[in-house]
């Protein structure tokens, strides 16, 4: 608190000492952060890659490799070449290199906050093949069942998503119905006690599918060829 704390050699101007200290500390901070950033960057990218791959392989059963594309205003481009923005889709292939399905993200508001999922679409059977919840804040014990309830997830193992004859939208809208009232293959059987969360999932797949599935069909040959 007293003068003992000050720098031993009395500085010419106090502001010089301030600048020197702040500048020095800021330099050191910058150096440290850059160093750590450089060291961890490849590890983090590898982690992210594995995380995406795991999710993609889960929603497209049987997949062995994947390739990223961007579907945007310029049409379909491999992710590395895409300049303008667009939606990233992950094409998944089996061990022989045949296209098994396409995984993409969808989002909608659930009970508490936005729910974000990754889901798989199989152009051969024109159906949804699986979902994985990426982010949610639904009530534990109720709404969060959408992520792991086996009965609910069964809905998405072969959810009918045939295109309308005009090839510009779905033949049947994907909708959530009350628990136990599922009658058609394009309906989602809600979890009782988590209707809003279940509806949100059906809604986001429907919205995303109406837009994306016709586009995917249009570029199917490029996707099959692996770009």
């Amino acid at each position: 608190m007293s003068g003992v704390e000050q720098v031993q050699e009395p500085p010419r101007t106090p502001s010089f000492a301030m600048l020197r200290t702040l500048g020095g500390v800021a330099m050191m901070a910058g150096l440290l952060v850059v160093l750590v950033f450089q060291v961890t960057k490849p590890i983090i990218e590898e982690n992210k890659r594995i995380a995406i791959e795991k999710a993609v392989f889960r929603v497209v059963p049987g997949a062995a490799s994947r390739k990223d594309f961007v579907l945007g205003a310029e049409g379909l481009l491999p992710a590395a070449e895409a300049q303008a923005g667009g939606e990233t889709i992950y094409a998944a292939y089996d061990a022989q290199g045949a296209l098994l399905g396409v995984a993409m993200e969808a989002a909608a508001t659930g009970y508490q906050d936005v729910i974000r999922i990754l889901y798989g679409y199989n152009p051969a059977c024109e159906c949804v093949t699986g979902i994985k919840v990426l982010k949610m804040a639904e009530t534990p014990g109720l709404g969060d069942k959408i992520a792991f309830d086996p009965e609910f997830l069964k809905n998405f193992e072969a959810l009918d998503a045939r295109l309308a004859p005009g090839r510009d939208g779905l033949l049947n809208e994907i909708v959530a119905v009350k628990h136990g009232n599922k009658t058609a293959p394009w309906q989602v059987d809600s979890i009782s006690g988590a209707t809003i969360s279940s509806k949100a999932i059906a809604r986001m797949i429907n919205q995303s599918g109406q837009r994306m599935f016709p586009l995917i069909m249009r570029h199917l040959d490029r996707l099959r060829a692996g770009g």
Partner: protein
């Protein structure tokens, strides 16, 4: 409701995901200055104002850092800017409205250590809000903070007159009250998602 609409962002920040009662941000001032309604109100206003300023600055900084591709300096820049924003606000208010400055008193400098401000800047970055959305978000967060503070102050003023067991005086009782308020706020959860 469209999750990107300004109304939804405002309501979400103010009620559904209230900064204090659902996200636990800004608890220090929440427990510290909620004893009287008047101080709570002033603190709320000051925080809302600083939130607005730092939200705008954070938006500008993030844009700059992204352009330069040095996002790893984000945290350091944010905290430095928030600290200076608080200082700046303090000086401006002092110069142009001494009356308001006296009313806010010690609350202005206290805001620097309020993690709600830094939380706001970080959340708006993570959620990739554009400029208007950031504004709506910061206004909502500020309104929610003020609301929680006022409710708490009202409860605590009443509690002054009540006879409670000696062990539960002070912080423990405040936390229990906050828990009840938080429970009540969970009722807002269905606001956003019940219809397409």
């Amino acid at each position: 409701m469209d999750p990107n609409s300004l109304t939804f962002i405002f309501l979400n920040a103010a009620l559904i995901n209230n900064f204090v009662l659902a996200l636990f941000l800004g608890l220090c001032p929440f427990l510290g200055v909620s004893a009287k309604r008047e101080t709570a109100w002033n603190m709320g206003l000051a925080t809302m104002f600083v939130m607005l300023v730092s939200s705008v600055s954070a938006y500008a900084i993030n844009w700059m850092l992204t352009e330069l591709e040095i996002e790893f300096l984000r945290l350091i820049c944010y905290i430095a800017v928030i600290a200076s924003a608080v200082q700046l606000v303090e000086m401006t208010v002092k110069k142009f409205s001494p009356a308001l400055f006296r009313a806010l008193g010690i609350f202005l400098p206290l805001i620097t250590t309020n993690c709600a401000i830094l939380g706001l800047a970080l959340f708006q970055t993570f959620r990739e809000y554009d400029f208007l959305q950031s504004l709506a978000f910061s206004l909502g967060a500020g309104a929610g903070f003020t609301l929680a503070l006022m409710l708490m102050a009202g409860l605590r003023e009443k509690l002054e007159l009540a006879r409670v067991p000696s062990v539960s005086r002070g912080a423990a009782m405040s936390l229990m009250l906050a828990g009840l308020l938080s429970l009540a706020f969970m009722g807002f959860a269905g606001l956003g998602g019940s219809h397409a």
